[in-house]
Structure formats: structure tokens, C-alpha cells
């Protein structure tokens, strides 16, 4: 038998190659799981469509003319779809730990030689792809069901803006992903609290201007504020990518990813110290 060279050090190119394969592995695993849980996913999609319909139907009871009603329906629909999109990103990234713990694979994944940023970004990449497909299906189903008239929607710009906003969403998701690591019992639920708080201050179904002053200030640092504002303009008026929406998202993204990684790293260290990095917590 040939002796393995344990002193071998990998070149940067080899490390990069291995990290990309690791990232692909995370996305691939999630595709496998989606295929295996397809019926569950379909049921969840139907629930999201029904939930979005309950919001959009509010516009029918407001008692305004057809044009104003159509505009209100579209605004509520964009809010509902972004809520669903953000929910998926938070759910998938936050469950990086919770899902692995539930399946019992957490120790194997965390002892593998892939870097944590690649692991988390892999989860984020899958979440964005899956979330976009799901958001498109919810949007199309509600538009068809209610019969909303969209004059000149700019879908390309809307998807591009959501893509840019996703960088920030993933960064915030990484921060909440640490919660199940630190608190196995309550961590996942706290992640949902963070998602809800972000949307409350971002004007999900109403203009930010109706919020109390301090909430309006918080809205300025929430990426959902700019995604909602931009997407509404793009779907209602066919606007393109507005720099006023893009630059805040780029700035928030540039901060949120490193902060998210640092928070997760600190949480992982805490979990390793306290012995929480195991299947039973």
C-alpha cells in the first residue's frame, strides 16, 4: 500500500477549485432535497398563493375606482411576493444549521474541509434561485386569479433588483443562521422574528412614510425598503433600475456579508466551546 503524503499543501488554484466544487455540492444537495420533498414544496407554494391572495383582496374592499384599485392591488401583490421571497431566503439560510441538526448530519458537514463562507454562500445561492422561481410562480398565479392589469411591467429590472437585494438578504440571513447554532430550541423561531421585523419597517404593504419617525430611520438601513420601492415602480410603471435603489443595496450588501460571516464564525466558535455542534444540540 502506498503511503499518503500528509505534508502535502494545496496550491491556491487547487483550494479555489475545491471550494467551488464544495459550493456546487451545497446547491446540488438542496436540489436533491427539493426533488425528494416536491409535494411538500407544492403544498407550501399553494399556501403562499392563498396567503398573498388574502392580502391582495384587501384592495377590493377599500372602495376606490378601478384604476386606483388596480394600482393598490399591484402594490400589495409586490409586498406579498417580496415577503414570500425574503421568507424563503431567510428560511433556507437560517436552516443551514437547523436542517442539518434535524437530519443528524451536522457533525459531518462541520468537520468537512470546506470553508464556512463557501458553505453559507452556497446555501444563499440556492435560496435566491429557488426563491426567484417561487416568487415568479406566486406572482403569476395571483395576477391570473385576480385579473390584475399590468400595463408596462419591467420584469427584467425587477429580477435584477431582487438579485442585487439578495446579497444583503443573504448577509442578514447569515446573521440569523447563527441563532439555531447558539440556541437549538429557539434559534429558528428567532430567525423568523428577524424577517418579520425587517419587513415591518420596510413598508411591505404601506408607504414607509406612515411609520413612526424612529422606524423610518431603521427603514433606511433595511435592504427590503429599496427592493420594495424599486420593484413597485418597475411593475407599475415599467421603470428601469434606479441608482437611488441600487447604491444603498450595494452599500448594505458590502457590509452585511462580512458582518454575517463574522457573526456566524463567532457563533460557531461559541458552539464548539459549549459542545452545541452536535445533532441533539
Amino acid at each position: 500500500m502506498a503511503a499518503v503524503d500528509v505534508t502535502r499543501r494545496f496550491t491556491r488554484r487547487r483550494v479555489l477549485r475545491d471550494e467551488l466544487i464544495g459550493l456546487y455540492g451545497v446547491v446540488e444537495r438542496n436540489v436533491y432535497l427539493t426533488k425528494r420533498y416536491l409535494l411538500w414544496d407544492l403544498a407550501f407554494l399553494l399556501w403562499t398563493v392563498a396567503n398573498t391572495l388574502t392580502i391582495v383582496f384587501i384592495a377590493r374592499g377599500v372602495g376606490v375606482g378601478p384604476a386606483a384599485r388596480n394600482e393598490l392591488e399591484t402594490k400589495l401583490l409586490v409586498g406579498g411576493v417580496i415577503w414570500a421571497f425574503l421568507g424563503i431566503i431567510f428560511e433556507i439560510v437560517t436552516e443551514t444549521v437547523a436542517w442539518e441538526r434535524w437530519e443528524g448530519t451536522i457533525e459531518y458537514t462541520f468537520m468537512a474541509p470546506v470553508s464556512r463562507p463557501v458553505h453559507l454562500i452556497g446555501m444563499g445561492v440556492y435560496a435566491v434561485i429557488y426563491g426567484l422561481v417561487r416568487a415568479a410562480l406566486v406572482f403569476a398565479a395571483v395576477v391570473a386569479f385576480i385579473g390584475i392589469h399590468l400595463a408596462h411591467p419591467n420584469y427584467g429590472a425587477a429580477v435584477a433588483l431582487l438579485g442585487i437585494a439578495s446579497v444583503s438578504f443573504i448577509g442578514v440571513g447569515m446573521m440569523t443562521a447563527v441563532l439555531p447554532l447558539v440556541s437549538p430550541e429557539k434559534g429558528t423561531q428567532l430567525g423568523f422574528v428577524a424577517q418579520g421585523l425587517m419587513l415591518v419597517v420596510s413598508g411591505v404593504y404601506y408607504p414607509v412614510s406612515v411609520l413612526p419617525g424612529w422606524m423610518q430611520w431603521v427603514a433606511k438601513i433595511s435592504p427590503a425598503t429599496y427592493a420594495l420601492r424599486g420593484n413597485r415602480e418597475q411593475i407599475l410603471h415599467g421603470s428601469g433600475l434606479a441608482w437611488a435603489d441600487v447604491w444603498p443595496l450595494l452599500v448594505i450588501g458590502a457590509f452585511s456579508i462580512p458582518i454575517g460571516l463574522a457573526v456566524f464564525k463567532a457563533g460557531e466558535r461559541f458552539a464548539k466551546k459549549r459542545g452545541k455542534l452536535k445533532r441533539s444540540g
Binding site: V4, V6, G25, Y108, P113, R269, G275, K278
Partner: protein, 276 residues
């Protein structure tokens, strides 16, 4: 050449004064229990060492420290000269493990679970397409069942896939944490036979943690006894028997600890079991 010889002579595992404790809350009080209390030992390259101990003795804590999943309170742990705390990523490339629970994504198939594990070790789709059927065949897993979900497989079959997962990454240090616990006698024999085959064919150093005295005696070059976080001995089986003047490892356990291997646990032991 000199460097290569030095590496070959270097200990595969070197543990010095390893300490790890856990705090458990009980009502308003907190109890600190030592899972590992100043453990020291070395394992030579290519050696198979068995660590015996009851539940809560600290075996799994030791495996989790070597797997880079736990940070120690004190001491030094090196795997092929690499510090497991400071050079965790280098250590991770060298180590893999099989634990008492098979631990897979239950809805995914054996092949999908193995692909997922392999990607984290830099194995691309082309490589796994060739390697996975080969490795599954080697552990005696029927190739016709590699597309079935893990939840439809027996415990014995799942454990074979767990062995395949560990071997797929060609680890030079293989950590086996009670790999045959809960298996039926036939599956247990198959897994043990495969561990012997790994020793004969791979450049692997093996640390086997078990509470099966017979298994330890059959598979290991040296046997250690971890009791309440302390390593009482680590020697070849015959030396252990000679030291205590006994005929069996069970008698050696009694002589070393003053307790029977099957004795009931104290409250302290139960506290320790939660973590260790």
C-alpha cells in the same frame, strides 16, 4: 527523503494533557463536569487503537475534539503534526469518521448522500460517478439499491454507507465511534471484517471507540480504558492482562476501576453522559 522519513515516523495522533469540561444547568444550580481530565497518549501511523469506556466516559468527546468539532479547555492535540485547534482545515482533510448513528439526509439516496459528502472534499461529478459505485461495492452494498432513500435501508446497510462515506475521502486518520453498536450480529461481523480490510489495504490509522470489549481485543493493536474522563491505561491487550493479573479485559476493567463494566451509573455519570 529525510523529511519524508521523519513524517512517516511522526505520531499520527498526539494528545497532551487534554481537558474538556461541560456545564449543566439543573434548576438554579450549575454543575461542571470534566468529560476529559488531562488525557495524554500517542498513536503511531498505521496503528489501530481501541478506547474502551462506558457511556459518558469521554470517548465521543475525544472523537469530537479530534474531528475539530469541539474546542478544548486545555492541552494540545495534533494530527500528523497539525494542531487541531489552530490548523483545523488541514486536519479536516486528513480525518474522517464513522459514528454510532449513520447520520444521513434520510430522503436522499445512498449515492446522493455520498456525492454531497465527496463535494466537500473537492471531488467533482466525474470523479464521484466512478468512485461511488466502486466504493459501495467494496463495502458490500448492493449497487441496485444505491438510488433508494436512506430511510428505506436497514441499520446495517446504513452503516455500510457510512463506512463508504468515510473511505471515499481516503482519510489517513479514521475515527470510529461505536461503529457496530446496535447492529445485528451479522452486520456487526461484516463491519468488523471491513475494518480489518481497511487496515490491510489503506494507509489509515484507526482510533476505535467502543464499549464492546471483544471487538476491541479483536481489532486493535493497543487497548485503552477511558473512565470518567481519565485514561487509565493504553497498552497491548496481553500487557493489560499481565499488569492486572487477569484473564479478560472485563476483569481488567474491574481491577482498574473497582467497578463492573455493566455497573449502574451514578448521578455524576449521568450528568457526564449528556455531553461526553
Amino acid at each position: 527523503m529525510v523529511l519524508r522519513d521523519a513524517v512517516l515516523q511522526q505520531a499520527a495522533v498526539s494528545v497532551r494533557d487534554l481537558e474538556k469540561g461541560f456545564t449543566r444547568r439543573k434548576g438554579l444550580t450549575r454543575r461542571r463536569r470534566a468529560a476529559l481530565a488531562g488525557v495524554s497518549f500517542e498513536i503511531a501511523r498505521g496503528e489501530c487503537v481501541a478506547i474502551l469506556g462506558q457511556n459518558g466516559s469521554g470517548k465521543s468527546t475525544l472523537v469530537r475534539v479530534l474531528s475539530t468539532l469541539l474546542l478544548a479547555d486545555g492541552g494540545q492535540v495534533r494530527v500528523f503534526g497539525n494542531d487541531v485547534f489552530k490548523e483545523a482545515r488541514t486536519v479536516r482533510r486528513l480525518v474522517n469518521r464513522v459514528s454510532v448513528e449513520a447520520s444521513f439526509f434520510k430522503k436522499m439516496s445512498a449515492a446522493e448522500n455520498l456525492s454531497y459528502a465527496a463535494r466537500f472534499y473537492g471531488m467533482g461529478p466525474r470523479e464521484t460517478r466512478e468512485q461511488i459505485p466502486r466504493i459501495l461495492e467494496r463495502v458490500g452494498f448492493p449497487s441496485s439499491r444505491r438510488g433508494e432513500s436512506m430511510e428505506s435501508l436497514s441499520r446495517g446497510m446504513q452503516q455500510k454507507v457510512a463506512l463508504a462515506r468515510a473511505l471515499l475521502t481516503s482519510p489517513v486518520l479514521l475515527l470510529l465511534d461505536e461503529p457496530t453498536t446496535g447492529l445485528d450480529p451479522r452486520s456487526k461481523q461484516e463491519v468488523q471484517a471491513f475494518i480489518r480490510e481497511i487496515r490491510a489495504t489503506n494507509d489509515s490509522t484507526i482510533l476505535l471507540c467502543t464499549h464492546d470489549l471483544q471487538e476491541a481485543e479483536q481489532l486493535a493493536d493497543r487497548v485503552g480504558l477511558l473512565d470518567r474522563g481519565e485514561l487509565l491505561f493504553l497498552e497491548p491487550v496481553e500487557d493489560v492482562k499481565r499488569r492486572y493479573g487477569v484473564d479478560t479485559l472485563e476483569e481488567a476493567f474491574f481491577a482498574a476501576t473497582g467497578r463492573s463494566f455493566e455497573d449502574e451509573k451514578t448521578e455524576d455519570d449521568e450528568d457526564r453522559e449528556v455531553f461526553a
